[in-house]
Amino acid sequence: MKTVFRHPPENFTGKRYWRSLEELADTPQFRTWLEREFPAGAAEMEMDGVSRRNFLRLMAASMAMAGIGLSGCRRPEAYLVPYTKSVEWLIPGKAVLYATSMPGPLGGLPLIATTYEGRPTKLEGNPLVPSSNGGTDLFAQAAVLDLYDPDRARVFLSNGKETTAQEFDKYLGGVRKQLELGKGEGIGLLLDEQFSPTRDRMLHSLNEQFPQAKFYSYEPLNFEERDLAINALFGPDVAIRPVFANADVVVSLDCDFLGSEQMLQGVRDFSRRRRVEGSVARMNRLYAVENRFTLTGGMADHRFRCAASQVPAFAFQLAKKVAGSTNDRVLGAVVAEFSETGTQFDDTWLTECANDLVARKGRSLVLVGNRFPAWVHSVVLAMNNALGAFGSTLAVLSVPRVKTGNLGALVADAKSHTLKKLFILSGNPVYTAPADLDWSGVQRSIPEVVRLGYSMDETSAEANWHVPEAHFLESWGDQRAPDGTYLPIQPMILPLFGGLSQIDVLSRLTALPNGVQAVRDTFKSFTKERDFEAAWTGFLRNGYAAQTPYEAAKVELNPNALPELLKTSGSLPGPVTPSSIEVVFPADYKVYDGRYANNAWLQELPDPITKLTWDNAVLLSKSTAKALQVDDGDVIEISASDRKLQAPVMIAPGHADYSLSLSLGYGRWVVGKIGRDTGFNAYELRTTSALYYATRATVKVIQKNGHQLVQTQNHYSMEGRALVREGTVEDYKKNPGFAKDVWMDADNPPNVSLYSHPPLNAPNQWAMSVDLNACTGCSACVVACQAENNIPVVGKEQVYNAREMHWMRIDRYFASAEGDKNNPHLEDDPEMVMQPMMCQHCENAPCETVCPVNATVHSEEGLNLMVYNRCIGTRYCSNNCPFKVRRFNFFNYNDRPILDRIEKGLPGFQGKSELYLGPLAPWGMAEISKMQKNPNVTVRSRGVMEKCTYCVQRIETAKISQRVKAGVKGDLTLPTDSVQSACQQACPSEAIVFGDLKDPTSRVSQRRTLPQNYHLLEYLNLQTRTGYLARIRNPNPKMPGAGKVGKINVDENGDQRHGLPHAENQNPGGNA
């Protein structure tokens, strides 16, 4: 008897999940794409001029060549090279962990660096720090690759000529003399936004010694307007931080507080109020108003598509509603300042949202994006004041800052020739400065420019001195976390190329002690311990100084300052129309403002929302694309503020109409090999008056299909098998197990495996649980996995061929309610769900049964093992994997050049990657790149399959250390939750949990008992070890469209939705 599964056809009456517009449209192209096992597979790719025949020809030639020189096969003599002097703390083969931190524009990020024989290989969050849970963002995960960037600045340059560090020291000595002579006259420092007490102390000292010296600061993704409003209303040196732990209702007005504007403590606290562990009572509710899908918008219960230029009007109208129902005097006065209301938005939406905020007065919070004008911030601050947020959901902190001028002041000083010498200690203004400033010209007009830069970039190229900057893993320093906790920056390694840190340069100018002494001097003001040495040691060991958060500022909103700020509002911008389009410049999720453009991990990482790699694109909505008659990959010319820019287009579901999003950070022209030829430079359109968005832009189509955008999105279709399951709080209350018996899993006939089940009798049984309710999709886990498991980067061309190597991916699904007559453009306003997907470690693994050489087998601990040295590369396993999580090394990505192109030679191969030269391609990994590799994980070669191992090296390390500890005592029980997978470790929202199922107190066991736990493709009897917790949304029933939120598994009546009769028993022989 044979069981034939009949998957229910996709649900056409309720909500559908889709991953791309092609899938939704179900075009013939998409069909053929799906029909290939490895889409656009190796054998038949002909679209770029290489036919199968050509390929075979080349390979035959390569084989012949290989036959001649087999001498490499013999074992070479290997050497054991000990140290000459024993090194303190260091044990060869064992990791040494150091606490450090990473500087960032929002504050320091506490980290623990893993080092092997003195080289840092992996960064993890420091869970000891009270505001951290050990999570990180993806920039911190990728930072270690920056340390080993082969394109780093290696030499000191003076007017383009190579010189030495000693020469530069001599030069700085001269500068110091000049400073002394003129009290700092004519000397300026350009800084970035940082919270380093040592740097601040040196700047103060510089200011005292040389009061005429000037400080300027510039962040391309600026906080200037926000700080302007806060300082006017609350006084100087005040910062405001959201306290999500107290917030029941959060309204985000284009504030991506879970994404590009995140502080990790916020992500952690938000998710702790979001995750459902037994009860939905404490679950928060999120409203998002935004022009493009952000990670925050994806988490929202209610999302309102709104052009960025209309968000101020939205904020004002929301404030009006709140003022109406709270009768707050101050907010009432703010509202009365405006004579017009701007574009009218959905009134029910605004009313119900405001009612929800007011109903939870003191437990609600409104956030607005950092880059909106100051008057918008003041309206929102007044609104929060009316809602009683201050002291509850908003903390007002006293954050001392060094006074600096902005870039405009710097330009003015340069133009008036008062500035003779400029030290650019950070940033890349030639690339990032507003286009109308002509920064490049300004910089050249300054007689002497000294640039401290991490790599040769646009600014270095036009500076007199270029000084290589030390990585934060190479230098002493300090940081304050966003909550103020004092954190050390410890060097893990001497500067690889003799670079200097900002503190090094400042200490020479101020004649203050340098390096560790500088930080010790600062630390004195942070400790009250009598024993300084003990306190210092503890500070370095734990990675933070206890009880050092910022003090609460005892100030209140000063309503008298409001009218002044509101005067700057002018008239609200008119609505966006096809002839008056707005252009928005968001931060990029991967390269931020361009500073990470030469990081290969980040370039290859699919953008969390668009799944675009190695590129940026103009994002627009489907209706806008229709109106402009453009499609994916068409190149358009955008004209805004008298400037023009050509860029490719990509249709983004959920985008506001007549609004274009151009993420910053690409299209750099002086950059290393990785960042070259990636994307376009959106800074070209960005002017001083339009730092966040420009209005009244027009668009012209230049070339149809002019640019190949490479996404990882369509590569893996799930064919409507309801892998993501979600419901609402109401559904959960009705039936907490709503996610279990739905679709094919409902009344599923018992399945019997034909194959023998592996004996799972080991004392540990490993498993994972992923909470879809907490996952924002930020992709820190993907980069963490890449760093931990030595996963290579493959380059744009190979990603196009669906050969990316990431062991874990994040599937992003859009969901929309079809058949709604009121909403004809259903693709335009979907919901978004993230699903991390990695090897599910099926107990009945389909991959294992088809491997002809037993290269993938099961362990007694329930791990689906991949044995590289057995693998012969048939790829049957990948064929048979229902989740498509196996990755094949089509080339030796580690040792062959992935970015170099074939210039001449074989016809049909010009312009393709040198990978296609096979054995004729240059061989070998750069020495500096080898240093990053995790010594506990095999570096795979060509022709081998690989996949998520549940971080088996960490499991084995834990088991071995327990055995070593046990010795002859024989107690082999691992402490509860002592093994963390790299993805779990990196997750700031605690969505991923890994551990031992045999231990009932482990977190993974506890999550398994939650009612919303479900497993993928249960009806196939896979017995997956990774479980998912269904997503639960918390819509406000009174909001418009609330009935359609989160309704995939439960229909409008609250009943579980089933598919067709699920299985049909067929009897081929006709006998019963």
Partner: protein
């Protein structure tokens, strides 16, 4: 009747045999050189930069293995001593011995001594010293009686089958924990190795991994 076969054919069989011999020889040489497993060269005894005699240091002078290989109990690697360790004694003892020239030179210049690696497992096999020596497996089980070697050589094949033999039957190599670094230890006359091994295996909960992830990651 003329000869059907010309005269030169008389030597043809001989020539064929000769060619086959040469071809066979070449093939054997090829297989021997290229295709024998690289990690099973029991008997491999390369020349070291310093002719370090283990027998003098261990057997004659009674030094413990862990004086030099100091991290064997805590790390996956059994470290090779630093030049500093050598110079602890050799600044005074044999301070001018020409055989130690390389060590002295390293001490002065700071450049390490390049010892030739003898025991080598493939890169995809992760052997851990600490877990073996802390659980009753002596150095001698894998390295042979290094304490009696003048020049160290590879005693065992270190092949996967050889590893698994012990992982399947650890009783053949288990010994009392205080005898792990005594390379001359033999089971007492009353008991056989197997008896002792089985007893210790039971007592210490010895359960060596036999699935792939134990060594391949």
């Amino acid at each position: 009747m003329a000869n059907i076969f010309p005269r030169w054919t008389n030597y043809l069989p001989l020539k064929i045999v000769f060619c086959l011999l040469v071809l066979g020889g070449a093939l054997s040489a090829f297989y021997w050189y290229y295709l024998t497993p690289e990690y099973m060269r029991a008997g491999y005894q390369p020349i070291q930069p310093v002719p370090f005699p283990h027998d003098i240091h261990v057997t004659q002078l009674g030094m413990d293995c862990r004086y030099c290989h100091s991290y064997v109990e805590v790390s996956s690697h059994s470290n090779i001593p630093t030049t500093q360790t050598c110079m602890n004694c050799h600044t005074q003892i044999q301070a001018n011995n020409p055989k130690l020239a390389a060590v002295r030179e390293s001490w002065q210049s700071g450049n390490p001594v390049d010892w030739v690696k003898i025991h080598q497992v493939p890169d995809f096999a992760y052997f851990n010293h600490s877990v073996h020596v802390n659980r009753g497996i002596s150095c001698v089980s894998c390295h042979g009686q290094v304490n009696h070697m003048d020049v160290v050589y590879q005693k065992e094949p270190l092949s996967m089958g050889w590893c698994l033999n012990c992982h399947r039957n650890p009783e053949n190599n288990l010994r009392p924990i205080n005898q792990v670094f005594n390379l001359d230890w033999k089971p007492g006359s009353a008991e056989s190795q197997e008896q002792i091994g089985l007893e210790l295996k039971q007592q210490w909960n010895i359960n060596p991994p036999q699935t792939c992830e134990g060594c391949h990651r």
